[in-house]
Assembly symmetry: C2
Homo-oligomer: 216 residues x 2
DNA sequence: GCCGAACCGTAACGTACGGTACGGCTCGCC
DNA sequence: GGCGAGCCGTACCGTACGTTACGGTTCGGC
């Protein structure tokens, strides 16, 4: 398993001022990508470089703190499955799908993922792990209970929740994230996202919906 | 539509020596990611920096040439659908899925995509477009005729080939590519890839296989 | 055998940027 | 009112690297 404990609450004693600085860094990250310089961050945040280095150690530390700071904010909404029937299950799934599509198509997410991908493999920091843990893995942690509840209520039929989740993930995200990361202009309007979420949900239910006498 | 014409044959008059240099650059790219320096490439390729600049203009030119050089090599195998029945269609799809998984999990593809993602949004070059065109879009171009053939043979039922393709793409790739790009250690053995390809194919056929009286 | 073109190896230049140092300001505290 | 901590602004340092320049070598053509 990659990554030690990147999902522990990461707002570890950040002062308001520090959060403001990280917000500035984040904005700059969205605008300039990995090109941001310490000087630019200091300028944008109206703080001195000395402070930056005192608070965050070095450039990587600042980057990591920024990514964690944002990552801790983007958790997809919790949806719990009380009184589950097929309609509410479908609604929950659709909600997850829609939220997820909105997240991965947001400027912030794209910028963060770009930086994290760029840094992955250089071993220097673990931005990739942070992003992964707060993105894909956090989503799984939220969604799996819903799937389990659906199975328990006899609405879903699957052997392995992980596999089912990954299928759902694939049906929702398809080629969207990689295309956006690679710079493809993919206009995702509210409407398209809604349609895609509904389609993905229907397809998932077609594959995993419990129908008497069904394999796979 | 993003990207002008990155899929025109890109081996445009490259001498053997130049190809060798690009291969060296490619190896370095896999090893060091975007950290590669002109000096390092020159060293690895046993050529002078002057030559590098003469041939490729500048660093971005070298990077672009390297990416194009590799991209032009990784096309997934052509599969044409002659005498189509359900078994051969499934076999074709499975083959595509398997090939694609092998591609996106290869060191080279990961390195290339990382660099391209890192450069996307900086506007400076269009590595992202090149990778996209030779990856996801090339795959679509190869696969769609198969899907159309399947539909024509009454084996598949879909309204829009693009949508069907994207669903297949999602079922095959799921979270694999983004996890790999973000540095997750995801062991993809020959066996898992085979299994995933089969599963994705079965799921796709379950969704789009022509059965009398089926909507969606 | 001579010439020029292409290329190698290396040295040199300029700059951008990470990181550090320091003087001055503000402000809570005694 | 004095004092020290924390921070701002800025100047400064060192280095890595993109880019250029140049002397030396190889080699095909005459």
């Amino acid at each position: 398993m990659l990554l030690a404990n990147a999902d522990i609450d990461t707002s570890e004693a950040l002062t308001e001022r520090q959060k403001a600085v990280l917000d500035a860094a984040l904005r700059l990250l969205v605008e300039e990508g990995d090109h941001l310089t310490m000087t630019a961050v200091a300028g944008r945040a109206s703080c001195s470089k000395e402070t930056l280095y005192k608070w965050f150690g070095d450039r990587d530390g600042l980057l990591t703190a920024t990514v964690q700071w944002q990552a801790s904010k983007v958790r997809v909404a919790q949806v719990d499955g009380k009184g589950l029937d097929l309609a509410s299950l479908a609604a929950s799934l659709e909600r997850f799908a829609s939220d997820w599509l909105k997240v991965i198509s947001s400027d912030t997410s794209i910028a963060l993922n770009r930086v994290a991908v760029g840094h992955a493999g250089s071993g220097k920091d673990n931005l990739g792990a942070v992003v992964l843990e707060n993105g894909r893995f956090a989503l799984a942690k939220r969604l799996k209970p819903v799937l389990e509840a659906g199975r328990h209520a006899g609405l879903l039929d699957f052997a392995d929740a992980e596999t089912a989740f990954r299928t759902f993930f694939g049906l929702v995200a398809r080629d969207v994230q990689i295309r956006l990361l690679l710079g493809d202009r993919l206009e995702l309007t509210e409407a398209t996202i809604g349609g895609d979420a509904a389609r993905a949900t229907q397809q998932f239910l077609a594959l995993y919906g419990a129908k008497p006498g069904r394999g796979l």
